[in-house]
Symmetry: C2
Subunit: 152 residues, 2 copies
């Protein structure tokens, strides 16, 4: 098929609130008051878990279909541990992001244990978001002044 | 401060559509028709970019404030390349997720080039989502049958 390119445009509506647009979809991201925000939306690291949940659903159904495994329903419980010291600039040995992510898939199925385990393993291996969390990805960030900044 | 734990509950509304809940916020994730979905929301890998954009906004403002750098506005353009062959189970050498992510920060500021570069570098280093994309994160996925599945 060749690589697809996905794009998102985001704009600061305040120091913590972001409006992001992916095609026709607008998403509001903010921080809770405890993290200095105005709580207008889920926060960035919650968005990461939601993305992961969405991806596991798609992959779970796709792979169940391939294997002829009935899947009548799927609930996904995700959690991640994050020490905010680095992001706040406090002295720490901890990393900035999640140090661990745990997922529990609650599958409504009567598949045998061995098939269920084969399904679980394949879902993990082929899930794009899981791959980007588990393995390093090249990220390039460049900065430029916006028009009004350069004119001044 | 010690680690915080963030949680998201997600449920399959269809084979591609997911409803995710983070605290009081509900998010709808789907796939476009070209990827087999019903286009009820942004897709999982677009959610990843939106999360990253939201995180860069928070970190951009936080670090500008620390440095006394005026930041009147911030636009963030994100894109990522993803070959869907592995997710669809086709023979491929490509990874499942984004092979590369590119971000352009458009900052409305008159900060000098050296300060702007220092800001950019620190934003990247302290941004949780950037960290989780650039570096490996332990991910554990377990599966269990839901109640109706075990009773049958």
């Amino acid at each position: 098929m060749g690589a697809l390119t996905f794009q998102v445009r985001a704009e600061a509506e305040s120091a913590t609130r972001t409006r992001a647009e992916a095609r026709q979809f607008a998403l509001v991201i903010d921080e809770p008051p405890a993290l200095g925000g105005t709580d207008a939306g889920a926060n960035p690291v919650e968005y990461v878990l939601a993305a992961f949940g969405g991806c596991l659903n798609v992959m779970g159904h796709l792979i169940a279909k391939e294997k002829g495994m009935e899947l009548r329903g799927l609930r996904i419980h995700l959690e991640g541990d994050l020490d905010p010291d680095r992001l706040f600039g406090r002295p720490t040995e901890e990393r900035a992001g999640y140090s661990a992510i745990r997922v529990r898939l609650e599958a409504d199925t009567e598949a045998e244990a061995s098939l269920l385990e084969e399904w679980r393993r394949e879902v993990c291996e082929r899930c794009p978001v899981c791959d980007n969390l588990k393995h390093p990805t090249p990220v390039e960030v460049v900065v430029e002044r916006s028009a009004s900044g350069t004119v001044a």
